[in-house]
């Protein structure tokens, strides 16, 4: 009977230590080829109304594959090509990670090549085997679109929301 005093806490501790593994498993389940089935962008105005200024289908492709260079289990390689409603696009190959709560995916150094403030965060709104919906927000101040710089939202002229709907190929 005394063994229970030791076994019960140990069993519970072991199961509570699986958080990191769940994050890794989620990234592994994302591996494969995806098409950006929809790319939608809205302006969110201060009165609560929205103005949809991008509504694209087949806006690009995403390939998520194992990170063979630094495969510690927590990173994948994402190759992404995307073209927006103005015909401007980008094609990148960078690292993909997630947070411990598996609520966001993070594209490392997507925005620039500096050491800081260059990652793009996408909130996972929906995730199933064959569909994912990722969303991120920006703010617009004095014309340009900004990301990850200010603490006071009233400094923004307005905000924008970008939603990507991905389908597995």
């Amino acid at each position: 009977m005394r063994i229970l005093y030791i076994v019960l806490p140990l069993v519970c501790c072991l199961f509570s230590c699986t958080k990191i593994d769940r994050a890794n498993r989620m990234l592994t389940q994302m591996e494969g080829e995806w098409i950006i089935e929809k790319s939608e962008r809205w302006s969110i105005l201060k009165d609560g109304s929205t103005d949809k200024f991008e509504d694209l289908t087949d806006a690009g492709e995403i390939m998520i594959s194992p990170d063979e260079a630094f495969d510690l289990g927590g990173t994948k390689v994402i190759d992404m090509s995307y073209t927006n409603f103005q015909g401007q696009g980008f094609s990148i190959s960078t690292l993909l990670v997630t947070d411990e709560d598996r609520t966001r995916v993070i594209l490392k150094n997507l925005l620039c090549n500096e050491l800081f403030e260059c990652d793009l965060y996408l909130q996972i709104e929906e995730r199933s085997r064959n569909t994912m919906v990722w969303t991120t927000h920006f703010f617009v101040k004095g014309g340009p679109t900004h990301y990850s710089r200010f603490a006071n939202p009233t400094e923004a002229d307005f905000n924008t929301k970008w939603t990507l709907t991905l389908k597995r190929q």
């Binding site: 009977m1 229970l4 005093y5 076994v7 019960l8 806490p9 069993v11 519970c12 199961f15 509570s16 699986t18 809205w42 969110i44 105005l45 201060k46 009165d47 609560g48 109304s49 929205t50 990670v97 997630t98 947070d99 411990e100 709560d101 609520t103 966001r104 993070i106 050491l115 800081f116 403030e117 260059c118 990652d119 965060y121 996408l122 909130q123 969303t135 991120t136 927000h137 920006f138 703010f139 900004h146 990301y147 990850s148 710089r149 200010f150 603490a151 006071n152 939202p153 009233t154 905000n159 929301k161």
Partner: protein, 278 residues
């Protein structure tokens, strides 16, 4: 689901192993309690106060400050009680419990343009408790307990836009998930009243860590997957965080997990569905 299965397996194992020696008995039981847990709210309030003061002219509704009683919560778990000397007026009893509970508290500030910022602070407690004491006619017992708490805390800072969409991506720099944890050791008295297969318990506890003032400042609330320059810690002083980030780092001015502890009063119930034969 995996956790639930493991707990149920452990319970079934312990019941199948329950046994009685003459006047000694092991009683595995299901356990539930309500923990009137308190925290030292001064730490998180320093963030709320500094935020309200720094953005005073831009806020329509500032953050409310906490009283420290917001994190009272129920716990559920299992335990096993050993009782000896049951044929005598005065006997010996000891007890082990394992339980888990959580609570979250939401605090919202509204800016003048109706955009909102929200702090959702979630606390999860694993409780491991051992007590020893004397029992009177196997009905009433008075014990001393030592209880360990592993407390994990997740602070989610999000922006709610005017159209209702919610964001935890860092277009506003404070948005994100901040993790921290705290290991506490408590001690104190416990009494229980047993009526057949049910025992009502009450215990009061004080944190032993509170005597070690320096340990309070060891662990902050951190974002592990961000690369803001500086800093990534959740700030205690908003003005310093925005205007003097280097000084913020030098002074390690983040909210510290060691303050999220305090005295606890717990009322619980031990329920033994299949009481062992005497």
């Amino acid at each position: 689901m995996k956790r639930l299965t493991s707990v149920l397996c452990a319970m079934l194992t312990s019941w199948s192993m329950s046994f009685t020696f003459a006047q000694e008995v092991f009683l595995p039981y299901l356990y539930a309690d309500y923990d009137f847990a308190t925290i030292d709210a001064s730490e998180i309030n320093s963030f709320y106060n500094s935020f309200n003061s720094y953005f005073e002219n831009s806020l329509a509704v500032p953050y409310e400050t906490l009283t420290g009683n917001e994190f009272a919560h129920p716990n559920f778990g299992i335990g096993i009680r050993f009782m000896s000397g049951m044929d005598k007026p005065l006997g010996f009893t000891s007890n082990f419990i394992l339980s888990r509970g959580q609570k979250h508290h939401v605090n919202t500030a509204t800016w003048v343009d109706d955009l909102q910022h929200e702090v959702d602070l979630r606390i999860r407690d694993w409780t491991f408790g051992i007590s020893v004491g004397a029992q009177l006619k196997s009905i009433l017992s008075a014990e001393l307990h030592v209880t360990g708490y592993i407390r994990s805390m997740l602070l989610t800072y999000s922006t709610i836009y005017q159209d209702g969409s919610r964001s935890i991506t860092p277009e506003y720099k404070l948005n994100g998930l901040y993790w921290s944890s705290n290991v506490e050791l408590h001690y104190g008295p416990q009494v229980s009243l047993r009526l057949g297969g049910v025992a009502l318990t009450a215990r009061y506890s004080l944190p032993i860590n509170s005597f070690l003032e320096s340990s309070k400042y060891d662990i902050g609330f951190l974002q592990t997957e961000t690369n803001h320059f500086p800093p990534t810690d959740f700030p205690r002083d908003m003005q310093m965080w925005v205007e003097e980030p280097i000084q913020f780092l030098e002074e390690d001015n983040s909210v510290k997990a060691g303050f999220f502890t305090g005295s606890r009063f717990v009322i619980g119930i031990e329920f033994t569905p299949f009481l062992s034969k005497k």
